[in-house]
Symmetry: C5
Subunit: 385 residues, 5 copies
Amino acid sequence: MSRRKRQKRRTPPGAPPGTLVADPSAPKPVISVMAYGGDGCSEEVIRDVNDVRGYLPRWPVTWINVDGLGDVQTISQLADVLGLHRLAVEDTVNTHQRAKVEHYPNHLFMVAHMATCNEHLETEQVSLFLGKSFVVTFQAGQPGDPFNPVRERIRHAVGGIRQSGADHLAYCLIDAVIDGYFPVLETIGERLEELEDEIIGHPTGRTSARIHEIKRNLMTLRRTVWPLREAMNSLMRDPNPLVSDETRLFLRDCYDHTVRVIDFIETYRELGSDLMDLYLSRVSQRMTEVMKVLTIIATIFIPLTFISSIYGMNFHTDRSPWNMPELTWYLGYPLALGLMAMMALGMLYYFRRKGWLGSPDESPRPPTPPDQGGKPFDPTDTQGR
Amino acid sequence: MSRRKRQKRRTPPGAPPGTLVADPSAPKPVISVMAYGGDGCSEEVIRDVNDVRGYLPRWPVTWINVDGLGDVQTISQLADVLGLHRLAVEDTVNTHQRAKVEHYPNHLFMVAHMATCNEHLETEQVSLFLGKSFVVTFQAGQPGDPFNPVRERIRHAVGGIRQSGADHLAYCLIDAVIDGYFPVLETIGERLEELEDEIIGHPTGRTSARIHEIKRNLMTLRRTVWPLREAMNSLMRDPNPLVSDETRLFLRDCYDHTVRVIDFIETYRELGSDLMDLYLSRVSQRMTEVMKVLTIIATIFIPLTFISSIYGMNFHTDRSPWNMPELTWYLGYPLALGLMAMMALGMLYYFRRKGWLGSPDESPRPPTPPDQGGKPFDPTDTQGR
Amino acid sequence: MSRRKRQKRRTPPGAPPGTLVADPSAPKPVISVMAYGGDGCSEEVIRDVNDVRGYLPRWPVTWINVDGLGDVQTISQLADVLGLHRLAVEDTVNTHQRAKVEHYPNHLFMVAHMATCNEHLETEQVSLFLGKSFVVTFQAGQPGDPFNPVRERIRHAVGGIRQSGADHLAYCLIDAVIDGYFPVLETIGERLEELEDEIIGHPTGRTSARIHEIKRNLMTLRRTVWPLREAMNSLMRDPNPLVSDETRLFLRDCYDHTVRVIDFIETYRELGSDLMDLYLSRVSQRMTEVMKVLTIIATIFIPLTFISSIYGMNFHTDRSPWNMPELTWYLGYPLALGLMAMMALGMLYYFRRKGWLGSPDESPRPPTPPDQGGKPFDPTDTQGR
Amino acid sequence: MSRRKRQKRRTPPGAPPGTLVADPSAPKPVISVMAYGGDGCSEEVIRDVNDVRGYLPRWPVTWINVDGLGDVQTISQLADVLGLHRLAVEDTVNTHQRAKVEHYPNHLFMVAHMATCNEHLETEQVSLFLGKSFVVTFQAGQPGDPFNPVRERIRHAVGGIRQSGADHLAYCLIDAVIDGYFPVLETIGERLEELEDEIIGHPTGRTSARIHEIKRNLMTLRRTVWPLREAMNSLMRDPNPLVSDETRLFLRDCYDHTVRVIDFIETYRELGSDLMDLYLSRVSQRMTEVMKVLTIIATIFIPLTFISSIYGMNFHTDRSPWNMPELTWYLGYPLALGLMAMMALGMLYYFRRKGWLGSPDESPRPPTPPDQGGKPFDPTDTQGR
Amino acid sequence: MSRRKRQKRRTPPGAPPGTLVADPSAPKPVISVMAYGGDGCSEEVIRDVNDVRGYLPRWPVTWINVDGLGDVQTISQLADVLGLHRLAVEDTVNTHQRAKVEHYPNHLFMVAHMATCNEHLETEQVSLFLGKSFVVTFQAGQPGDPFNPVRERIRHAVGGIRQSGADHLAYCLIDAVIDGYFPVLETIGERLEELEDEIIGHPTGRTSARIHEIKRNLMTLRRTVWPLREAMNSLMRDPNPLVSDETRLFLRDCYDHTVRVIDFIETYRELGSDLMDLYLSRVSQRMTEVMKVLTIIATIFIPLTFISSIYGMNFHTDRSPWNMPELTWYLGYPLALGLMAMMALGMLYYFRRKGWLGSPDESPRPPTPPDQGGKPFDPTDTQGR
């Protein structure tokens, strides 16, 4: 059961601060620039970092998106062009940061994570710099780009986005990242429901491992989203001239979504723990049932076998009238069988009184389907935003 | 075990803020207007949203109740007529919000949830706008309207409600929503008591699933009510010219009820966990009892069967005096039976000394009924408000 | 297992605030007045509420105690006479409030609960109004009055109570209510000790239900006392002209007692959970022991029975020299017995090596009595106040 | 299993505040006075409380230590002589207080507990009054006095203690009390290590009761030390003219020790819970192992016995060629034995494939000793202070 | 299973504050001095403490590293030379302090712990004094020095370290200590993954002890790092002229790392608890499986053996036509065999319907490898810094 080898991209302990260490296996950066204003929109993939200089003064808002972190040289050039702080750039390249917002003299730096859940849960660090007239975003360049809907809105000038400033663009991008958590939570919610049905129906040996995997994923999500909440709160409240009051109003909405995501994660985590308990109780229950079958069969037949083995003994009946005279009785055999039958019936009566027979808890439970259907609101419900 | 398919009403990630997406299967909105003042009361179901304009200046308080969220057009017209903020209206239509209070320039927006528990727990979002002389409420239009008692009080001018302003009406509506939780908690409390009796009496295989379902419901309730508490606190404390000091005094009462609801939910959650523990201990206990029966029967009869099988061996007694001379003894058979009886009695003595016989823990527990009855205060007690 | 039917005294959802709904089965109120000052003391049970008016101006302190809440009319008359707020009076009659302190313009309202634990835990709401020169207390009128010692102190002018004001009387009454928790906690502590001994000694099938009942009672107590702590804190700290600084010093003592009660409740709750764990581990342990006995007996005798059954087979020894020649050997039978004895001894040796024999853990534990005695301080110790 | 009867020393509910109730079985107080200054030191055991008056004006610091609380008369005389507040004195005599610091007009009152753990954990209340030039300490007078090292330091003028004021003496005494927790924690730590070894090695039936006892002791310690932390914090921070700034610096050290004690208690509590889990998992594991042995033996021999019992049937072979012709075959017996051997081998192969044979988890674990030794830092390590 | 005896280095309770007690077995101190500035760097191991005096005025920054705490004399001389406070020096020698930052008049004192995890987890106290132009560090002198990379940076003047002041050096040293936790966490994460695979694959009897050991190590780490976070926070925020604003910016980075370490520890702790649950559920599952095999075999063969034993009885068929006439039937034997076969098939059908046969949960799980591989982000992932 081999797992993917993790790349060791960590800066070595004791390295000077601001050291940039690129992951050699990471894809090379692709820099795309999107600049727009009330009267137009320009889009280009650039090769030379210095081309950025041409955009900044010309357009009200310039959005530079860097996809792939495999070339430290390019990234530090870009940082120089835009005046980004070296500590922030280091955090961009070493993609294992907690979500956070940091206020630097002439820009604002934010780290968040986006999550996707196709077959497995994957998270990817997104770094965002907000300047007076620019936004820079860095992604690790893996498949799936959450920013496409925002690009479309800029291209088609939907919802007044072109009239708004760079802070509004930053809000839109953060909002897209956070909204990306909801489909992930829906997938997890569905898996939890499947597991719940499986446990109540036919728990197997793999069920516990599956519950464990979901709990593990939720742990990862939690570690990702909790600091994001703090970051959003700080972004919404801390005074910063780069963020206008109107954008703060929108960020409040964004913060609400983060809180909802956390609500779901916490509810699912509890649900996961409850499912593990339920699983354990079901396994115990099944064990008891297995033991009951064994006990019923064994305690009925073992005494019977004992009786029949007595009459299988070879004492010489001709030597003594005390030696197994039953063997020579006219009704010896029917009486022996009758004795056995009575013992068996006595046992059965005892088990029935104990309630061990009939096992009603394994019946197909006809009233359940309506009982489970029609549940119009449940903790695994994540629609809406 | 199919569950109700959940409607996917969530705004897609990356959509512009304020996008209204209606659930096509939701019922069409029915708008009823109730306007009143010290000297009268008028009630009408309107078709055209613009009819609302006629009420606002004429009556001290106008209450517009919208039942059903299936038509985005109508709702956004109404929002335009009353000047409601588009972010708040979006939250009204996407009915998966956390309870909250938001202060907008000329109105106050509140989201809460009401709960009903007939066969299953159901929750429904209620949105409320409080303006200077109006209150607007939005419900999803499902059966059951918690506002009827308030309507009756307005119609019959009970308790001075007609002399009070829109903020008092808002308080009455919120109070009705919160008080609706108490019957739900009573139902859950009764189910927990039934389960407790069942576990102590005759736990079955479905008991654990039923405990799990209640815990799940309590999780849902908890996720619904915790933010409501914060919202009530904010409503009660944050300064807002729309809420008078006298209404704040009433809201304190309302806040107290929310806290009581949370107290019950938390107590029930703990009780649910304790019941799961109790169930597990009962299952273990029963298993031990099953095993004891098996062990007693098997350890008594297996050695006896061994002895009788020895005398069932066919060694030729005529070849040697050493070959099973017992078979030819005058008292061979009675001695063999006596040996077996002694072994059985020895075993029984051993089990009695171990305390495995008599199983006093399954006796019908005569002292219990007085012990359980007469419990005058218990955590499953939710009356009063 | 029928439980006492709970009275439905709850105000229906949507009722106007301040609605008084009496429990028809509640006892009728008995109003006793006790008025005192530095120079005397007068005591009377009054029939007409208006008699109260005579006391107020004449005595420095008038204490009106209402026992029984069955007559709404009387109670609301009394409230009118003394100017008590209708919301507070509603909370007095609907006896399912959380403990709290509310400051009204000319009086202070407090709700607390007293607990008694004879056979079962019972709690009863006590409401207290403190005015400038009067104290009003409301009890549900069930047996047991915690205020008797205070009455005695007033009658015999013990400890300077007659020289102090109404706030000191209120303190004395609250103190009596809180001190009433200690005997209850002592009872629970003793039951926990009994259970601990029972679990270590001879756990039965009812043990888990008894632990569960204690945990349930502690849950009730906890829900009762936690808000009391907040209330005491608010009473002690919030400025109010009705409470003098000297009384605040005494209230600090009172608050300390509440904190101690909570300490005990939390410790007992943990102890209850630990006992459940201990019980489960003991049940597992006993199960293992039962299984060991079964395994030892069965694994010794089943192979032996197999051997003897082999020589019980009826192959015709006269047809072939290969057909069970052992049966005709001179020492066949002794050799067969010897083989069986060797197998049994081998098994016993194996079990001894595994440590399954001798079971030292069930020995009567002679060193334990000194080990348990002499424990001079333990978490179930609640003396002192 | 009788426990020591606890003395009921609690003041009855409803008693007036400041009531002193002595425990009749408590030892009579022994009052020793130690007075010192830069130029000398005087030590005496006094009989008459009024002798104290002679010391106070003569010496810079007078330390009065009262050992035994059995005589209320003496204690209240002493309180009068020194002007101690009656509420504080009540808390001194009723030795079941939480640790606390109370500021009275002309003295400071502190309650703490010292712990000793010889065979059992014992805690004893220590009360301390700090005045301008005196310190009074009250102990219950049980064996073991933590203050002896401080006495020695005063006698031999070690570490400048004679030059410091009463507040420094109070610090030294509190420090001695707190440092007394470390040996107790070391003892508990050692017991936890022993238990850990026992559980991994040979868990017995008493192991769970021993873990439970340690958890109980830790609960007691916790309830004792948590309020002590708050008290130390208040002592260190709250302004009080009786405590100099230099002493506060030392008290910070003292506070640090309290925090370390709490750290250890919490770690040990968790370790205790983990050990209970480990114990349960070991018991489960052993049970599985026991069951495996039973299953292997029974499933091998039960089918074999069945086969041999078939050939023990007495069908008359002479009546029909179909009646057990095997019995008359030339190789009937060897073939039957061969069939049995094959079945047994098949079973063994099945068990080996399942991994039930060989049980490597019970091997003597040779790599473990180096694995456990040399653990240079572990949570049960409490040295240093 | 002997563990390393722990040295008792603790100052005895009641000792005067500031008492230095050396551990006699500790290595003797080796004092190395490194002094540098913008224009050079000097490095020396000194014998005489007074040599330090020569460095201080000459170089902008002097770093004195003391390796080994075995000689109290030397250390207290050094403290005198540099003016270090005696309480701080006591905490340096008694190496069982919590991480903390203390502000003394002319220097700042910090305690932290570094962790290494070769075969076992080891932690070692590092004490650091920061003065105006010097940094003093104390280590216990065990192998492994986390400061080597910093030395290299000074020697080669990497990253502007030589131009910065003593506070920057202190930051670099603390950063090196904190970064040292990441490799430790990686090791623990890998062990947790191994355990997870082991539990899902083939849990053995040692698995639970291994989980327990990891949880124990995490407890130690947690106790070490939580106070470090507080210390870092205090260092970063509390005003102190010795720490410049620029260094504070770097310390924020350092604080972030501490928070990340705590995040990992908490996640791993939860994962450890989840693994214990998973282990228990797997053991239960295996037990059920073992029991199923026993039950299937026993319940099939025990009734068959009973039947064959009936026909092994020796009733005399010649005495009565009722005595076992089957034995003389022409097809008696085949009919008996047929009866047995039918019973066996009936049992098998019953077990199949119960789902006890086929045990799909033990199949080699082919779809799992892709399911486990490719997990690109998981809670055991600690790279990056």
